[in-house]
Structure formats: structure tokens, C-alpha cells
């Protein structure tokens, strides 16, 4: 009876935006007479940080400080359409909508400033809340002054609107699955390694370490990206070794009905989590962003399963990897079972779980 260590890895990829696209986001922006910027977007913030990220994109694009931005996603009367916060689309798709709206605002600020400064708008730039002449930074005026002039001198509203829609993929060819244009806005890639310790007496698996590399496109706010990846790692850990709505699936008995009976990872006994964030800018995302929130819990379960094989030589292909399952596999192995069927060039694992083993209504197999 002993503890065994093992290492495993997994490689994953994940699309940004709704599959087959066709999921619009829209935004509009207005500037108050003192230059402060009101952003109206319909993107819910579910903790992912939509309010923060979209405010950053607007501030960057217009050229004003972050704390000049007021972000309002509070209702559907004042905010235009956004498909929602899911499918890793909020930063990419909705971010593009506010980016386009902010570009319009910037153009209008430049146009008013050009009239005030009597200079071609092409010779002007906006940064840190001021419009200045390229190459002659001394000649400038504040965005607050521009907004005041727009309001009280020129009788104009500094505003902008933006919409983003990756065109919907055409109907999938029903025979081949072929589509005529990309069904995703971008794709992110990642790899994950797990180190585990398996107790061969109890079947208990402790995940000691997770090391992960994520292609994040470009970080709009690195701290928020880390938050997504760290949170995803622990959710993937839960999927890997703890959580299930139906512990005796397909039976519906013994369902956990509360926080004490459905097991979610807690702050105690967590693995060490190390991440490498790889910037690989997308061609279509705002400032090169990709969506990474959803993929963040996809790599850990297989990496853990593969590490368990490395540790004790048993494959677990039903999830989550409970002590019962590990122990059953270890027992089978001790009794000389648990091996795949080997016949010629065919190696067939898990045949007892297959649809062919359960029914003759669907035939399938090597």
C-alpha cells in the first residue's frame, strides 16, 4: 500500500464566439460636456469583467483616462442589443462593438478640435484626455474643452455607435458537415499538465500541481485573464475528480441537493497552479484579444486522468475520477483484468461501456 506519483498532459483548443457565429453585439457612447464618457452596452458582467474590459477598450481607443469612463449595462431601454455573456464572446464580439463606437467618438472629437485649432484633423492625435498636434505637442486642447466647445459653440453631440457581427455560417452541409465560412470568431489553444498522487489502498487522488499554457490572444487586462484561468483550473479540477450531479449515472439516485452534498473544490488542499500566458494576437479581436474564459476548465480532467495512468497504470474513462473508480480499476488490474482487447492491429478499450454492449439497436465498434 503506497502513494504513487504521476504526470500527465492534455492539449486543447476552443472557439471564441458562438458556434456558427451570427451573434451580434451593439454599443453606443456619448460624451458629457466636460469630456467624461458614457458607454452603453448590453453585456452582462457575470464576474468575468465585461464592465472593466469594455471600459478599458473605450478609454484606450478614444484616448482618455480609464476613470473618465462610466459604463452602463444596466438595462435594455438604454443599452442596445448584445447577445450575451457566454461562448467566450464578451471581450471579442462585444469588445469590438464598443471599439467601433469609440472610434467614431474619437473621429468626432478630432473634427471639433480641428475646427477649434484651425488645423487638419489628420494632423491631430488624442491621448490622456488631450488633443494635440502631431509633432507639436505644445499646441493642444483638452478633450473636456473639445466636449465643451462641441456642446456650447458648435451645437453638436459627441457620440458614436458600433455594432459587431461575425456573419453567420451558412447552413451546414448535412452530409459532410462542411461550412462555407468560419464558424468561429477566433480559436484559442492551450496545454495543461497535472501531477497527481494516487493512494493505491483508498483510490484517493490528490492533484498536487497544475501547469498550464494559454494562448490568450492579447490580454486586455492581465489580472482579469489570470482570474479566468485560475478559476477555470479549479472548476476543471472539480470536473476531474469531484463533481457530478448523478453519482451513480445513469441512475438518478443520490443526487446532491446542497453545498454539503454536491462537492465543489474549496480553498483547502488545492494544487499549486502555475500558468504561462502566451500572447498570440488574433486578427479580428479588439487589440488582438481572444476569448479564453470558457476553455479554462477543459484541459485539467484529461491531464489528471493521464497522470493517474502514469502513476498506477490504470485508465479511467468515466468521469469524475472518484476513489471508487480508481479502486475498481486497481482491483481489476491486480486480478489481471482491466486490459483492452487486443486482436491483430486492434486495441479496444472500455468495450463494456460501449453502446454495442448495451443494445443491438445501434451497432458501432472497431
Amino acid at each position: 500500500m503506497a502513494l504513487h506519483r504521476g504526470n500527465g498532459l492534455a492539449t486543447i483548443e476552443y472557439p471564441t464566439g458562438m458556434n456558427q457565429n451570427g451573434d451580434p453585439s451593439q454599443a453606443w457612447i456619448k460624451v458629457k460636456p466636460d469630456g467624461r464618457v458614457d458607454v452603453f452596452s448590453g453585456t452582462s458582467d457575470i464576474g468575468n469583467g465585461s464592465k472593466t474590459v469594455q471600459s478599458q477598450i473605450v478609454a484606450e481607443t478614444i484616448g482618455v483616462p480609464y476613470d473618465w469612463i462610466t459604463y452602463d449595462n444596466s438595462n435594455t431601454d438604454s443599452s442596445p442589443m448584445c447577445t450575451g455573456t457566454f461562448a467566450s464572446r464578451a471581450t471579442f464580439v462585444a469588445g469590438n462593438a464598443v471599439l467601433k463606437a469609440a472610434r467614431q467618438v474619437r473621429e468626432r472629437i478630432l473634427a471639433i478640435a480641428a475646427r477649434e485649432l484651425e488645423i487638419d484633423p489628420a494632423d491631430l492625435e488624442v491621448a490622456d484626455g488631450a488633443v494635440s498636434v502631431k509633432g507639436t505637442p505644445a499646441k493642444s486642447m483638452g478633450v473636456d474643452e473639445v466636449a465643451g466647445a462641441a456642446t456650447f459653440v458648435h451645437g453638436e453631440l459627441l457620440t458614436g455607435d458600433g455594432a459587431h457581427l461575425n456573419p453567420g455560417a451558412a447552413i451546414v452541409d448535412p452530409e459532410s458537415g462542411e461550412v462555407d465560412k468560419p464558424p468561429h470568431a477566433a480559436i484559442s489553444y492551450a496545454a495543461c499538465a497535472a501531477t497527481v498522487e494516487v493512494d493505491d489502498e483508498t483510490g484517493d487522488v490528490r492533484v498536487l500541481e497544475l501547469t498550464q499554457v494559454y494562448d490568450i490572444g492579447r490580454a486586455m487586462n492581465p489580472t482579469l485573464v489570470e482570474g479566468q484561468i485560475e478559476g477555470g483550473a479549479v472548476m476543471g479540477l472539480g470536473f476531474g475528480v469531484l463533481e457530478t450531479c448523478y453519482p451513480y449515472y445513469p441512475s438518478v439516485e443520490h443526487r446532491g441537493d446542497g453545498m454539503n452534498t454536491y462537492h465543489v473544490p474549496t480553498m483547502s488542499g488545492l494544487p499549486e497552479i502555475n500558468n504561462v500566458l502566451m500572447e498570440n494576437p488574433s486578427s479580428g479581436g479588439p487589440y488582438g484579444a481572444k476569448g479564453i474564459g470558457e476553455m479554462a476548465n477543459n484541459g485539467q480532467p484529461a491531464a489528471i486522468a493521464n497522470a493517474i495512468y502514469d502513476a498506477v497504470g490504470v485508465w479511467i474513462s468515466e468521469f469524475p475520477i472518484t476513489p471508487e473508480r480508481v479502486l475498481a480499476a486497481l482491483d481489476a488490474k491486480r486480478e489481471g483484468g482491466g486490459e483492452p482487447r487486443r486482436e491483430g492491429r486492434v486495441v479496444a478499450f472500455d468495450e463494456e461501456l460501449s453502446i454495442s454492449a448495451a443494445t443491438s439497436a445501434k451497432s458501432w465498434g472497431p
Partner: protein, 456 residues
């Protein structure tokens, strides 16, 4: 860039750490009623009789809703994508899962609402239930879904299977030195947002409705509410945008349309907050996936072809499952380039909670299956797991299962970086690999025809 890329604090962080952020449950309105649902105790049953009389007569009860109160009982969440609706907002003739709502009561207090639910008389004729997706295809399987039968049958109009065919799979299997099959079953997972489903609906004096919602998708929920209530979007104002966790479980916010109806019927603001038990036992969760993978492999470590069968346990109704399966099918090669593919996928209905989106939708289980399978193949070949993955990794202008060229794949680079971060030794040859378009040894004959162009 100065602001983009900066480690700025959360826009709403100060509110979050000082108790000042307002979530839906924190909304307080004078005269607000509280709602509770009567839910099915059976997994599969015919409803033979419903009598709400006693409940309606109880002191403090202001509205009792049944299916007859819903202007449009069945709304298809994905009807815009050609996927018909199948799920009644409140059960009518049948209940198809334990926990399915049959009636909603709005009363002065939650306790009164619950007592009124208990006073509603419902007679059931219990029916056999189906829980094992592998048995759904049997002739004598219990029927689960009234619209589609036991598996979805309206792909692109009238197909009952989502299929991918690419290249020549039979030739790939004929040419294989090794054929490895495995069966992978991933589980149902609850999203567990700390904030349970909650809604406050307010009838306004001008006839409009204000709905304080915890949805992840305000306009999506607006569409769902307006469809069920048969109202134009101008009549409903969704108020939200600040959500206590979602993870996919708050896209199809079932609480919004029913709370709205209760507010209209009672003429009072109504709050419906689900208990944790309801959240765990009756809200949509991640669905289980049954996946069978067979890979044709060459002795030098190329994956020549893949056959895959996926059976997705959708629960009792479709919700987003067809979307999830299609996404799954588009990604069933994972991060690898496999030129010859034969994929069949089914959305199968069982008498459990209808499943819904959750982080990684359609792919979390798939990635798990693909990567355990990859490890098995590598081990059978006696090949280093990094080498096997790097060799088969997708590269610029390789094509996806549905023929789209990869624009900026970084599988090679993330694997090299992972090896470096974990102290795993890679050979010089593997360290020198890149994602660049295939050539030389990395462009064997079997990968020539799948190369695309233009990249995305």
C-alpha cells in the same frame, strides 16, 4: 497602448468588497410578493387532473399560474437557427423530469406560496422513465420527448444525426498499422453560481413590465420573455447586467418569464428566488456525454483517420443541446489535424433535468475524451506523449473537420512552452517545430489533400 493591457482594478470592485453592489435579490419594492413553484415529483408521468382551487382560496395568495396562463406555452430558444421549440414553460399534459414546474404561486410570503403549492391537487399516471442514453434507440424504450421522440431529428430540416464526413476514412483504416478504440463518459456538472436563479418582475403604471434579471444575456432573455408573453420588446425593460456568477447556467433564465406572468396576473411586484436545493435539483446543468473514438494510426505516430460516435444526454428537452452537439462535432479532432473523419452525433432525450450551457459547452467532455484517447494511442505506440501530440498538432492552413483553414494555431508553441515550464525534455527536432504551414517531413502524403488556404 496604455489602458488596454494595464492591470486596472475591477470597475465594480469597490462595491463588491463593501457590500454595496446590488444584485437582484437585493432589490426592495413596496408590496412585493414572493413566488414558489409546484414541481413534478415524478420523472415521467401523464398529468390527469389539476385543481388549483384550494390554493387560490388561501389567504395571502395573489396569483396561481398554470400552463393555461401562458400566452405562448412553447418557445424555441434557438428557433432563429431553425431548431423547433419543445419545452412548455409550465407542464401541461406530461411531466418529463422530476422538478419540472407545473404551477407558480405568488403570495405575500414565501411560506404562504409554498403552502399554496402544496395545496394544489395534481393526479399523475406514472410512466416508465428512461435514464440510459444507450437504451434510447431500443424499440421498447419509453418515449421522452413529445416533439422529437427519443433523439433530435431535425438537423438541417429532417436528419436525425449530426454528421461529419471528411476524406476517405475507410482507406485510412485499411492503411492503419494500429487501430485504437475507447469509450469515454463524462458527467453532468452543476454550474453552482453562488447566486441562485432569481427574478423580480414589476408591473409599471404605463402597462410596461420591468424585470430585474440575473441573466447572462439580457437581450436573449428579453426575447424569451416577450415570446412567451406575446408582447413587443418595447413593453419590457430588462434590468440587470450584474450577476452573481453564471458559468452558462443563467442563459436560459426560466425564472424571468414566469415571474413576469405572475406580476401581470397579480398586478404586484413579484420576486422568485430559487432555493439552493432547486438550483441543484431542477436548474439546467452540464449534460453527460457518451463518446466512442476509434483512431487509425500509423506505426510512426500519425493519426490517419478517426471514427467517432457521440451520444449527448440532453435531459428531457432540447434547450441548447443541438447547438452544443454541432459545436462538439466541429471540434472533434481537438488540437490535431486528422484528415479522414467519420463522425455521427446524436442528441438523446432522457427523463432527467434538461441540460444547458456550461463553461466549455460541447467541448469540456470532448476535450477530456480526445486527450485520454491521445495518451492511450501514444502509449500503445510507445511514443513520448509530447512527441505524439506535437507531430499531429494542427498548423497554419491545416483544415478543421468542417474544412476551415486554421489561421493562427499555437498548439505547437503551447506544448513546447508547457514542456519547458514542467522541465520535460524535448528533442532538438521537437524544440525546432513551429506552427508554420506544413512542409518536408511534416507534410506526409496523407495530409496533403486537407491543406486549405486563406486561413482563418
Amino acid at each position: 497602448m496604455k489602458v488596454v493591457g494595464a492591470r486596472l482594478p475591477r470597475y465594480d470592485g469597490v462595491g463588491h468588497v463593501t457590500g454595496r453592489t446590488t444584485y437582484v435579490d437585493d432589490v426592495r419594492l413596496p408590496g412585493m410578493l414572493h413566488a414558489a413553484a409546484l414541481r413534478s415529483p415524478h420523472h415521467n408521468a401523464r398529468i390527469t387532473h389539476v385543481d388549483t382551487g384550494a390554493a387560490e382560496a388561501m389567504a395571502g395568495v395573489h396569483a396561481v399560474l398554470t400552463h393555461a396562463d401562458v400566452p405562448l406555452l412553447v418557445h424555441g430558444h434557438l428557433s432563429g437557427a431553425g431548431i423547433p421549440g419543445d419545452e412548455p414553460l409550465l407542464a401541461k399534459d406530461y411531466v418529463r423530469y422530476r422538478g419540472q414546474p407545473i404551477a407558480l404561486v405568488a403570495a405575500d410570503t414565501v411560506d404562504i406560496a409554498r403552502a399554496a403549492c402544496a395545496a394544489i391537487e395534481v393526479d399523475y399516471e406514472e410512466l416508465p422513465a428512461l435514464f440510459d442514453v444507450r437504451l434510447a434507440f431500443d424499440d421498447d424504450a419509453p418515449v421522452v420527448n413529445d416533439t422529437f421522440g427519443n433523439w433530435y431529428n431535425k438537423y438541417e430540416g429532417d436528419l436525425d444525426v449530426r454528421q461529419i464526413r471528411k476524406g476517405d476514412t475507410e482507406a485510412a483504416f485499411d492503411a492503419a498499422d494500429l487501430i485504437v478504440s475507447g469509450v469515454y463518459r463524462t458527467q453532468s456538472q452543476e454550474q453552482v453560481p453562488l447566486e441562485t436563479q432569481v427574478c423580480v418582475a414589476v408591473p409599471e403604471p404605463d402597462g410596461r413590465l420591468t424585470i430585474h434579471t440575473c441573466t447572462q444575456a439580457m437581450y436573449f432573455s428579453l426575447g424569451v420573455v416577450c415570446s412567451h408573453l406575446q408582447m413587443p420588446m418595447s413593453e419590457v425593460k430588462m434590468v440587470g447586467g450584474t450577476v452573481g456568477g453564471g458559468f452558462g447556467g443563467k442563459v436560459d433564465t426560466a425564472s424571468d418569464p414566469l415571474t413576469a406572468l405572475a406580476a401581470l396576473k397579480s398586478g404586484r411586484p413579484v420576486k422568485w428566488r430559487w432555493t439552493r436545493e432547486e438550483e441543484m435539483l431542477a436548474s439546467g446543468n452540464r449534460g453527460p456525454w457518451h463518446m466512442e473514438i476509434i483512431d487509425a494510426v500509423s506505426s510512426d505516430g500519425w493519426i490517419l483517420g478517426r471514427k467517432m460516435l457521440t451520444v449527448h444526454d440532453a435531459g428531457a428537452y432540447g434547450r441548447f443541446s443541438v447547438y452544443g452537439l454541432t459545436k462538439h462535432s466541429f471540434h472533434h479532432t481537438g488540437a490535431y489535424s486528422i484528415p479522414n473523419l467519420h463522425f455521427d452525433g446524436y442528441v438523446v432525450f432522457t427523463n432527467r433535468i434538461p441540460t444547458t450551457a456550461m463553461r466549455g459547452y460541447g467541448i469540456t467532455g470532448l476535450a477530456t475524451a480526445i486527450e485520454v484517447h491521445a495518451e492511450r494511442v501514444a502509449r500503445e505506440l510507445g511514443m513520448d506523449p509530447y512527441e505524439f501530440r506535437l507531430k499531429n498538432a494542427n498548423r497554419v492552413n491545416d483544415t478543421s473537420p468542417n474544412r476551415i483553414a486554421y489561421e493562427d494555431p499555437s498548439t505547437v508553441e503551447v506544448l513546447q512552452s508547457l514542456a519547458s515550464a514542467t522541465g520535460s525534455e524535448l528533442s532538438d527536432e521537437l524544440r525546432a517545430m513551429s506552427r508554420d504551414e506544413r512542409s518536408g517531413d511534416m507534410l506526409p502524403d496523407h495530409l496533403v489533400a486537407q491543406i486549405g488556404s486563406g486561413g482563418h
